[in-house]
Amino acid sequence: MKKSKAFWVYLALALVIYAVVQVMTANEMIDLYYQNMLITICINIMLAVSLHIVIGITGQFSIGHAGFMAVGAYVSAICTMKLGLPFIVGIIMAGVVAAIAGLLVGVPSLRLKGDYLAIATLGFAEIIRITFLNIDYVGGAAGMVVNHMTTWTYAFLGVLITILVISNFTNSRHGRSCLAIREDEIAADAMGINTTYYKVVAFVIGSLFAGVAGALYAHNFYIIQPTAFNFLKSFEILIYVVLGGLGSLSGSVIAAIFLTTVSQYLQAFPETRMIIYSVVLILVMLYRPTGLMGTKELKDVFRLKKRGGSEA
């Protein structure tokens, strides 16, 4: 059972990271700036991995992911700020409502292929954003004031659960069905896979975790505004997935960590940030067109190294 061994190694590693950050925070070794940065990294990992299941695993080119994040952000903010519900209820509601939105968008649009699907999902995300922009109940363009409630623990658990659910899904007959769709939809259909069903399932799971990420995002700053969920945000998430390597979960995690860190340091120079982003993307497309990791996972890389070593 090699797989479960890798699983325990990862879990142990994750818990160590969690404990170290937690202890350092308690001892004031990590200031608010870095705490915030760590939480942002977690949120972006969740966004990347939740899009990875749609694009990397199922091969459906959806580029409106920020739309589902927006749904989660606003739904959770309404729960906590307007209805006075506990944060955890807000998070769950964010996931549920974003999943329902994913279902409603996915059923008609996943019949479309390639460019058409991309346009439809992008259009949906814009509609969501403009809807929130025009609802006074949630503050319109001025935005909605939200209390700071997202802690390192919430963010860490969010990432852990997202990765666990999505990798468990992927490594099962259900995930393989999605991979089959990515590889060859006609053959998948001919082998007995209900392709529409699995495309929608992947889309709904992706939307759910984007919604949860949105909830954590909303409660990490003091205000949410519709502009935070515009198409640039969708592209940013898309870049994590493409840069990491379509089909590689660890790739999208690594890309999310890397790009979030870079862009945090460049926050003061937004133009430079976009230039660096573009340069990185162009370099990757030139020298590693399949992304940093291709379709490989971290554990494959290590296994290959080990094998190579013993042969040498």
């Binding site: 659910v165 468990n168 899904f169 099962s172 007959r173 259900h174 995930g175 393989r176 069905s177 991979l179 089959a180 590889e183 060859d184 006609i186 053959a187 998948a188 259909d189 001919a190 082998m191 007995g192 896979i193 209900n194 392709t195 399932v201 089909g247 379709t295």
Partner: protein, 258 residues
Amino acid sequence: MSNPLVKLENVGIQFGGLKAVQNVNMYINKGELVGLIGPNGAGKTTTFNMLTGVYTPTEGDITFEGKSIKGLKPYQVTKRGISRTFQNIRLFKDLTVLDNVKIANHHLAKHSILSSVLRLPSHFKGEGKMEKESIEFLKIFGLDVYKDELAKNLPYGMQRRLEIARALAAGPKLLLLDEPAAGMNPQETQDLMDLIALIRKEFDLTILLIEHDMSLVMGICERIYVLDHGQLIAEGTPEEIRNNPKVIEAYLGEEVKN
């Protein structure tokens, strides 16, 4: 005489103005190995596509085990018990050989998405069974040594075999093989034909085989249908087909053109 396993009644399909197949009447009894031959563009693959739900016939009806399958989606047809291989190999190229077979086995497993996400016992039981069965299928085709190889890295002949292994893993009663020996050398072809005979017995299969190699079809099929320009021009035993003037003409015509 019991009812045939599959029956095509006046089946036809039109693409725009082109009648690719018309007025096809065919039946296949349970356990038969039937050949479908004809010159290039005769409509053989199109007939497969209609049998498997890729295309819906614009005329006529197709029944399988006495029930119409016309209008079903391909995956629904597969669940009823018809599976196929593709003339132009369509493997899941970037997945492993084992995963290719497991994917076909998917619809026979029961464990739910929730059980997989939560790693419940039913997930491990279901996945374990799939793994075991898939390896059995690979063994039959001598592919088990390649199980962790990506499908695209297999030699050509092995890819053709994997196509059949995958189709078999979908648990068919009727297996449709679209030129399974295309591009193989005589030895590989002979091995493949022996294998087809073997799985037919082992899995109690009914087989419809498209093949260009006449001697091969004549050698293993009990009955043969001949298509030309979208219409059936002959039906009978290999002996009858060999001496049928219409068939000779259809094939000679092709040779003259070539």
